[in-house]
Symmetry: C2
């Protein structure tokens, strides 16, 4: 069976889970506590990060971008990267935007400071980082709202990996109750559309020990 090594609140694992589900590729989830630095896992991925996808034939794919590129090459039905060169450039630009810029400016400042530090015993949350995370959230939600209002989906006329990358980041923040949806109606409407897709059900069923999501987390009419 195909196995995805993941962590429930890793936005990069969530992006891959959504991509697999959109492509209707069956997989089994296995939690990898990367901080334990398990030897068999290090042998597969010396960077000791999730997600890692292990195919039944033994092939392991490391890194969420590598996995998503692989999925579109190995399972071309329901392409997620776009068809033309221009579409693909725009999808990949936005995936990099959410994976790198949104993650560094928002997700890491909130999720890492408020959850991961406690979990890893790395001390108290840094108040300045949390303030920066909240401040950066506003222009990011407005950008998502602007994209969603000028296009059918974030990267163009079709749902793409850009939507999944964005929704993966937002869903982790929504889980810890850190999303102020009143900032942008456009972003909220777009997220409601993504969230109601069957591919999202697995994420909405996630529960992390010690962290209860707000009541609207799994509500499709939030």
């Amino acid at each position: 069976m195909r196995i995805l090594h993941h962590l429930p609140l890793s936005p990069f694992s969530r992006k891959v889970r959504l991509a697999l589900a959109e492509k209707r590729i069956p997989f089994e989830l296995r939690v990898e506590k990367v901080w334990e630095r398990r030897e068999e896992f290090l042998a597969v991925n010396p960077a000791c990060t999730v997600p890692v996808l292990q195919e039944a034939n033994g092939l392991s794919i490391v890194d969420s971008s590598a996995i998503c590129e692989y999925l579109d090459e190995a399972y071309p039905d329901m392409p997620l990267l776009g068809r033309t060169l221009a579409e693909r450039a725009e999808v990949r630009r936005l995936v990099a935007w959410f994976d790198q810029k949104f993650y560094a400016e928002v997700t890491r400042n909130l999720l890492f400071e408020k959850q991961m530090k406690r979990l890893l015993g790395r001390g108290n949350p840094d108040a300045a980082s949390i303030r920066a995370g909240y401040a950066n959230l506003k222009p990011h939600l407005e950008y998502i709202g602007w994209l969603a209002e000028t296009r059918a989906w974030l990267a163009g006329p079709a749902l793409s990996l850009a939507d999944l990358a964005a929704a993966a980041q937002l869903s982790t923040l929504d889980y810890i109750g850190d999303l102020d949806w009143s900032i942008s109606d456009g972003a909220k409407d777009w997220y409601a559309r993504v969230k109601s897709r069957p591919s999202f059900r697995g994420l909405l069923a996630d529960r992390v020990s010690g962290v209860t999501p707000p009541p609207h987390y799994a509500d499709l009419d939030f």
Copy 2:
């Protein structure tokens, strides 16, 4: 004419320059001082990062990974990502390793602290970051040496984007005189092989105002 918007010491710009040169795709370099936040550039890339590749037909590709994926799709001669799914997974794993892990653990700690902070007027270098950068360099060079000694090139039997991503990072550190090549003979021999390729000539001719590289920087028998 095809234009690459870049900065001379940006390792991600250097990776793309090497990829273009290996594929013998002609291009013109244009320095983009991203800290000036030029409006025409922001319209193309709101993240305001280099590299950005502008094709003669008007298509712009933003983000070094998006550019490299694009180049292998649009110009499939001299493929840089590998041929089989397994080869491609290994090339992309290592590109992510150098772009993300090596950059965060080594390049940013040394290049950003010692050069970019001064250039941008962001205060003094942080001594702890510089110490961490030097400490992290050793295991990274040893890993490169181990890969180069067990394979013909870093990702397997053929030169790939993994070699270019690694050499791009190392070349910026070599420029500022921060590479201790005595750490790993394997890494040094591999770098000498990459450095003597015609694709490297442009990088070795770079000069940045106010920073003189050490005499061995452009020496093929360093």
